[in-house]
């Protein structure tokens, strides 16, 4: 009896279309593009800030309008998606054993969401947006 194992090729560029769970994974991963873009925006803002009032204010003015608004809205959506997907899996990396049992993951998740709300409100308040 001769053996001739058959290897099934998997597309390296389209594998994630094969199941919704892979698409969900990719949607989570591409949030990094928008977090990175926002970091570069902050860097720009910092640079303009260092250049003086006129430079910084023209930067702020450039943000206004459809492109800036729409762009930041998209960034916001992906930033929230990053946050929720991050918090939802947080318990997996940090099991908390109390006696024989483990703290149910949902408490860790709820704690993360609670801190998120408090921190966000604090930032908005401190920034004078509230």
């Amino acid at each position: 009896m001769s053996r001739r194992p058959y290897v099934r090729e998997v597309s390296k560029t389209r594998w994630y279309f094969r199941h919704p769970r892979y698409l969900r994974y990719m949607s989570r991963e591409i949030t990094c593009i928008f977090i990175g873009a926002f970091a570069l925006l902050l860097l720009c803002a910092l640079g303009r800030l260092a250049d003086g009032q006129a430079a910084y204010e023209s930067f702020l003015a450039a943000l206004q309008g459809p492109w800036g608004t729409f762009g930041l809205l998209v960034v916001l959506i992906f930033a929230v998606h990053n946050a929720t997907s991050w918090f939802n899996v947080a318990p997996k990396a940090m099991p908390v054993q109390i006696g024989e049992d483990f703290l149910p993951g949902k408490f860790i998740v709820i704690a993360h969401y609670a801190v998120w709300i408090v921190v966000s409100l604090a930032v908005l308040f401190f920034a004078g947006a509230l």
Partner: protein
Amino acid sequence: MAKSNKPIVWSLFAAGGTLAAFLAPALVLLFLLAALGHAPTLLQYSQLHAFAAHWFGKLFLLGVIALFLWHAAHRLRVTLHDFGLRQDAAVAVIVYVIAAAGTVMSVLFLSRI
């Protein structure tokens, strides 16, 4: 099989991701408000300048920009690999150089405030 040095970039990815998860939405919202013409007080020139002049503001801005960049860099490296771009070594160099450059530029800008 040698132990990997991935922990160094992974810890930056994890720290940046955690910081981004908690802070990014609120920070983005501040800039979105500015884009809508209702820039919050902190984003006015005098306020933001005063914030960045203070040691806490410097630490905060450097921490946020640097960690967001390192998080995005490492995750983008992995994501490009997932999208089929297999030249991992080249991609890694490019993304980490950009993150490093951004970190250095933050320090330079902050030193001028």
